[in-house]
């Protein structure tokens, strides 16, 4: 079955351990990974997506696509809120610099809505993966060992959701190989 998985950790380094573990499961043939990405949220609520791309237009698309995906993990209404928040999620080269999500300018009520829509709390990092898995236990067990909380949605759920059109379909913005920016340690 084709699923999107988000694994949330209290800390950046565990997220990268998880990223490596997911690709290791692929290498062992237990699952097949179509793409992965790592999203961070700092104590101020700002988001950062690890990416090589510096293109402003592409960075916005990455933010909208992955923001909507993060929202979807929180429930059916989350995708729209996630996309709106995700439009402001920046994409920073190499993971060294955080990009302001600008949620601080939202009204208190709006911000509460945004907070509720994300599975990623302040100070947490998440690995997002697009996987084919015959059994969910491979990822669940490995991530549990690392202290991660696993959220899972079928890819077919996204295909039925109006937010995920061709421009913002998240698979396009997930790396199809293990990508860890060299400067990630700056986020801990």
């Amino acid at each position: 079955m084709r699923n999107y998985v988000a694994v949330v950790f209290n800390g950046t380094s565990k997220a990268y351990e998880a990223l490596h573990a997911i690709w290791q499961l692929d290498s062992e043939g237990e699952i097949t990974v179509h793409g992965t990405g790592v999203v961070h949220r700092n104590d101020l609520g700002d988001f950062q997506v690890d990416t090589k791309e510096t293109h402003p237009g592409l960075a916005t698309a990455v933010g909208v696509g992955l923001g909507a995906l993060l929202g979807l993990f929180a429930g059916p209404a989350g995708a729209a809120v996630g996309a709106a928040g995700g439009a402001a999620i920046g994409a920073a080269t190499g993971g060294a610099v955080g990009v302001v999500a600008d949620l601080g300018r939202a009204s208190t009520r709006d911000q509460a809505g945004v907070e509720a829509a994300f599975v990623l709390a302040r100070g947490q990092s998440a690995v997002i993966a697009d996987v084919s898995e015959d059994r969910t236990s491979y990822i669940d067990n490995r991530m549990s060992d690392l202290g991660g909380v696993v959220y899972r949605r079928a890819k077919s759920d996204l295909e039925d959701d109006a937010w995920f059109d061709d421009d913002y379909f998240p698979s396009r913005y997930l790396y199809p190989y293990e990508y860890i920016p060299s400067a990630y340690s700056g986020w801990d």
Binding site: S27, L58, S132, D134, Y175, Y177
Partner: protein, 129 residues
């Protein structure tokens, strides 16, 4: 001895195709992250790398199951588009260059996706044997 136990160190032809497609996407992504002239210099090698992945798929497609074959055929279509846009990017400048680079990256991503779907189909078929 159980001969169905898979040794993860032994990569088959499809695994090699996937690795080559992943490397192609990585090379395009690395080039795309650079400034115009540096990106263009790196892009010189992309059409040839793309052709190498296409040849690799053509060499291995015959041994795959029907589902995997379908995915690999779609991957070839995306790789043709990758090559076309990579060729265009070498001729373009400015915004047109950026546009063709973005298209090249998107096409390569779609190609890797299809190759990976072929891998998933093959693994799933082996699991359910």
């Amino acid at each position: 001895m159980d001969t169905n136990v898979k040794d993860p160190k032994v990569k088959d032809a499809l695994d090699n195709v996937r690795a080559a497609a992943q490397q192609l996407h990585a090379a395009i992504g690395d080039a795309a992250a650079k400034r115009n002239e540096a990106a263009k210099a790196d892009f010189q090698a992309i059409p040839l790398k793309t052709k190498a992945v296409m040849d690799s798929i053509k060499g291995s497609i015959g041994a795959q199951n029907e589902v995997a074959k379908k995915h690999l055929t779609e991957a070839l279509t995306h790789l043709e588009a990758t090559k076309k846009h990579a060729d265009q990017s070498l001729k373009n400048t400015g915004q047109a260059f950026q546009t063709s680079v973005t298209q090249t990256l998107a096409d390569a991503r779609a190609a890797v996706e299809k190759v990976t779907e072929a891998v998933a189909a093959k693994r799933s078929a082996q699991t359910h044997k």
